[in-house]
């Protein structure tokens, strides 16, 4: 079943008098349960792509269907609701609240989506990434790999349709990188859809599908081993 369908999506930024096409007529679809990577050089449009997919931004033109809903024209509040229910974000520099404990950080999406038993759900998510014992630690007391696992737990806690990761291993050593990729693969086996934006070929090689962007267009889209 199609989770996401982009149809001729364009994103234009205005830099003074000049119009910059960050994305220029992109069409693609993502199925439920896929694990894919989006690659490309810097300036290829992959960050814009991630922002659009994650409903952090709206396309200038074209259509974005998510679970059969056209989200390209929704207002800020509806987009915030979608982010809270459908997506989990993982960033290169973790983006954890430094004053809050790991547990509180994981709870954060639940604060905005409502519902009860936050503590318990957050604890379960932390246990899924193997950090049950570090719940009371603050980010500064955790290693880079551990911090990124907290971020993944935060992305998981609302049972999202899609986890979007932006260079998730960019700030990590190779051991931690292995660890994080292993967690994504595990989540994929459990049926969660995962999209990773990366410029590292060996990360992309670990995913079943690679979408390569160049100058705001899809240059290639296919199996990792076919590259």
């Amino acid at each position: 079943m199609e989770l996401i369908e982009l149809e001729n999506v364009t994103k234009v930024y205005r830099m003074g008098e000049v119009e910059v096409y960050a994305l220029n007529g992109v069409s693609l679809s993502i199925k439920q349960g896929e694990m894919l990577s989006i690659v490309g050089t810097s300036g290829s449009g992959k960050s814009t792509m991630l922002n659009l997919l994650g409903c952090l931004d709206r396309p200038t033109s074209g259509r974005y269907m998510l679970d059969g809903i056209d989200v390209s024209r929704l207002n800020d509040n509806r987009l915030a609701e979608l982010r809270s229910k459908k997506f989990g974000f993982v960033f290169q520099d973790f983006n954890l609240l430094s004053r809050a404990t790991a547990l509180s950080n994981v709870e954060l999406p639940l604060v905005y989506s409502g519902g009860g038993s936050k503590r318990q759900k957050a604890m379960e998510a932390l246990e899924r990434v193997g950090l049950g014992k570090r719940a009371r630690h603050k980010p500064t007391e955790l290693s880079g790999g551990e911090q990124q696992r907290v971020a993944i737990a935060r992305a998981l806690v609302n049972s999202p349709s899609l986890i979007l990761a932006d260079e998730p291993t960019g700030n990590l050593d190779s051991a931690s990188t292995e660890e994080i990729i292993a967690i994504f693969q595990q989540l994929h086996r459990e049926g969660i859809t995962v999209a990773i934006v990366t410029h590292e070929a060996d990360i992309a090689a670990k995913t079943q599908r690679v979408i390569r962007l160049r100058d705001g267009k899809v240059a290639s889209d296919g199996k990792a081993d076919s590259l």
Binding site: N51, G54, L56, D57, D76, N77, A80, E81, R83, S84, K85, F89, F91, N95, L96, L97, R99, L108, P109, V111, Y112, S113, G114, R154, N158
Partner: protein, 417 residues
């Protein structure tokens, strides 16, 4: 997101910057404190004055001369003052039904001497009714009698403080004092009454018969050449007869002063209730005026809060981005920063109330030590107003920074710094 969760988030972030929060609150603390102290002090002053006035008796009317040609309410002021009342007027009023007694009274400052001691005292020239009308008790001896008044005796009754200052522990009754170098025999001493009128203690007076006062101490004549009376206190049988007596006094005096038709009264009749009303109004206006000046401090405090909230929003841009990425709506962010500003202001306001209250206690103590008994009173209304004003200040100064925070674009916010 529920209100309670926004509250917890806001309180946590205030605690994370303790020093900054306290410094920001200081503005509100001082502003609210100053306003509260002034309001409490003003109310204390009002209570002090009205209770002194009530002490003089509320079933009393005062008749005083007025210059009918003076503009507006200036007729009783010194610049326009004119003597129109006499002892005969006073006797005519005494015959009106419902009048229990009259106390024609003249007063002025003069030196009172005994042995080597000299005091500048308020000399009251009056009649026997003065004692009842002003609620004085006798400590020893007797008060001025009707016979003293009739025969212009050189007798005097001393207030308790005056007696103590002149005689110390000695019994003054039977002794002779000099007033304006004329000899008077002390016939009685008043019991301590307490209270004061604009700084003059009610126990520092000296009472002599009004006739003696007119003949030997201070001479003032009406345009007709008779001895003048400054004011006539009229003791009325009861509050329900107030209006009738007032009307009768007016008729009697107009007839006696040959006023007809459209002629204006050359006297005024004021009840104690009216005087209390006027004084409450004066103290009320003065304290509101002072509080308005003090509230400039609140304006400064409000700018301080807005400033610190703007800094806080900028500093926490990334945090706002994270919150938005995980699903915070505009109003969630708005609420978080508004609550933060309101909490700063409310806590500051509460501390300001305590600070102001302590300040007003210090003022009361200082005023009382300086001879002006004052008990500052903090009314619940003042507290409610202070809390309300603090809340409004917090919300008003928080709304702009909070809106800036709520409008941040999540993508830009996430990549800030």
């Amino acid at each position: 997101m529920r209100f309670f969760e926004a509250l917890v988030i806001s309180i946590r972030s205030l605690f994370a910057n303790k020093m900054r929060s306290v410094l920001t609150m200081l503005g509100i603390i001082i502003g609210v404190g100053a306003v509260i102290a002034i309001m409490a002090g003003g109310r204390g002053m009002e209570t002090a004055v009205t209770s002194t006035l009530k002490d003089l008796g509320t079933d009393v009317l005062y008749v005083q001369p007025v210059n009918p040609d003076a503009p507006g309410a200036a007729g009783m002021s010194p610049g326009y003052a004119i003597a129109t009342l006499t002892l005969d007027d006073s006797e005519a009023i005494a015959r009106i039904p419902g009048v229990l007694g009259v106390a024609p009274t003249n007063e002025n400052f003069a030196e009172v001497t005994f042995g080597g001691e000299t005091l500048n005292s308020m000399i009251e020239g009056s009649t026997a009714e003065f004692q009842t009308m002003s609620n004085y008790e006798l400590a020893s001896g007797q008060f001025i009698t009707e016979r003293n008044v009739a025969s212009r005796d050189s007798v005097v009754v001393l207030g308790s403080t005056t007696a103590e200052n002149l005689f110390g522990d000695e019994d003054p009754v039977g002794q002779r004092v000099k007033i304006k170098d004329k000899r008077f025999t002390v016939v009685g001493v008043l019991a301590t009454k307490g209270g004061s009128m604009f700084g003059f203690s009610m126990d520092e007076i000296v009472v002599v018969p009004i006739t003696t006062y007119q003949a030997r101490l201070f001479t003032q004549r009406t345009p007709g050449g008779e001895d003048a009376v400054q004011s006539i206190g009229v003791l009325v049988a009861g509050p329900e007869q107030m209006d009738d007596v007032r009307a009768d006094i007016e008729t009697t005096l107009r007839r006696r002063h040959h006023l007809t038709g459209d002629d204006k009264n050359d006297f005024s009749i004021v009840s104690m209730e009216q005087m209390i009303g006027v004084f409450s109004q004066i103290t009320g206006v003065v304290s509101i005026f002072l509080a308005a000046i003090a509230s400039i401090g609140l304006l400064v405090a409000s700018i301080g809060i807005m400033n610190i909230m703007l800094v806080s929003v900028t500093e926490r841009t990334r945090e706002i981005g994270i919150r938005k990425a995980v699903g915070a709506k505009r109003r969630d962010i708005l609420l978080q920063f508004l609550i933060e500003a309101a909490a700063l202001s409310l806590v500051g306001g509460a501390a300001g109330i305590v600070f102001g209250w302590l300040l007003s206690l210090v003022i009361s103590f200082a005023a009382t030590s300086a001879g002006f008994p004052l008990e500052a009173t903090l009314s619940p209304l003042h507290v409610i107003i202070a809390v309300g004003v603090s809340l409004v200040i917090g919300l008003v100064s928080g709304i702009y920074p909070a809106m800036r925070a709520a409008r941040l674009n999540p993508i830009d916010a996430l990549h800030y710094g």
